[in-house]
């Protein structure tokens, strides 16, 4: 795989700086910036995963590396609700990203149910932070209901307040 060309940053947190300047200076002969590629509504995705017959989450050993399991995809319940599974890690971020873009497009209010989360990594938390910020930009609301573990991890990373779970 040509990892060199692969985009490893899902979102540019500084994109707003250009937007602000363009508004301030009114006239801008600049091409529309490439930032837009990363905004939520840029690429419609329809990867909504129907997976309603999910049984109890298996107990997960926190130290074990997680094997990506298609059957355990984060559940999208419809009506802007997303349920995160027990173990969230970087392998799943791309999929979650797509799923979140999808719900964010279709709903003004999004509820992320993170009550089952037992482990979560920085990549996933970053993604949620980004989602929160994007939502504000589009005047949408993201509410996260979180497990204790989720809250601890978020606080540890200093994003608890941002995610409004602290």
């Amino acid at each position: 795989m040509a990892r060199d060309e692969e985009q490893m940053i899902g979102f540019d947190p500084l994109a707003w700086m250009n937007e602000g300047e363009q508004v301030e200076s009114q006239v801008s002969d600049k091409e529309p910036s490439a930032d837009e590629e990363n905004t939520v509504n840029a690429e419609p995705q329809n990867e909504t995963v129907e997976n309603n017959d999910k049984s109890e989450q298996p107990e997960v050993d926190m130290e074990q590396p997680m094997i990506l399991d298609r059957e355990q995809d984060n559940e999208i319940v419809g009506d802007g609700r997303v349920v995160l599974e027990a173990e969230m890690n970087i392998q799943k971020v791309a999929e979650l990203h797509k799923a979140l873009i999808d719900v964010l497009e279709q709903n003004d209010q999004i509820e992320i149910n993170a009550e089952a989360v037992k482990t979560i990594d920085t990549a996933t938390l970053q993604l949620l932070v980004v989602l929160k910020q994007e939502a504000v930009k589009f005047h949408k609301e993201v509410v996260i209901t979180a497990s204790e573990r989720f809250v601890d991890s978020a606080n540890l990373l200093g994003v608890g307040e941002m995610l409004e779970v602290a």
Partner: protein, 255 residues
Amino acid sequence: MSVNIIAVINQKGGVGKTTTSANLAHALALKGMKVTLIDFDPQGHLGVSFGEIKHNAGIGDVLLGKTSLESVIFNVRDNLQLIPAGSALKEIEQLTEGGAQRGDLLRKVLEQSLQDQDYVLIDCPPSSGLLAANALFATDELLIPMSGDFLSLQGLSHLMGSVKKFEKVLNKKYTKWLVLSRFNTVRRLSKQVLNILLKHFPQQILATVIRENDMLAECPSFGKTILEYRPGSRSARDFRSLADDFLERKVMNGA
């Protein structure tokens, strides 16, 4: 010629503010510049980096009006002075009295001082509280150390938010310089972070990148800068070269 006061600032922790302050300042001093470092972090790590650990009084006491600035200036190397944090500095962050004045303490203290110096570098703490506000009041020029990871972009976004607010309220524009202070040259992510930075801060990223190197983490425990600890190392070269960039305003060109 008047003195240049520069805040080394980024509210994200561990990005290399103190390492950059100490080593850049020493490199500048070795090039003949007169430099004063202000340890503006209650942790006092900048002082430690120079082996100066015994000071009880520092900039905190000056801001609280307990002592004079002159009494807390220490010569730590040729051409290089240190104003330690002192144990009172942490009180500043907690000040609840004094209204808007609280943010303006450092600027007032520095107003007519240190006029014989070429540069004053303020090593800011990893927070966006009152100390950072004081630093932003006191300077027109910011040096922003950045590591090459995603969260530091996130942190920079926050910092720029505060900076813009200050620019509005104080009606000034900061000159901003970014320095990649903990750069992993092998990591692809670092390069992508750099590309994003180049897009938003064209002509503002100092040309020399400080590469990640354990030696930089080792030298503070000896109370030495890298220029004393391993003068021949690539990190020492990085900082000498960064000092040149800093003096000549040598920046990276966009991709």
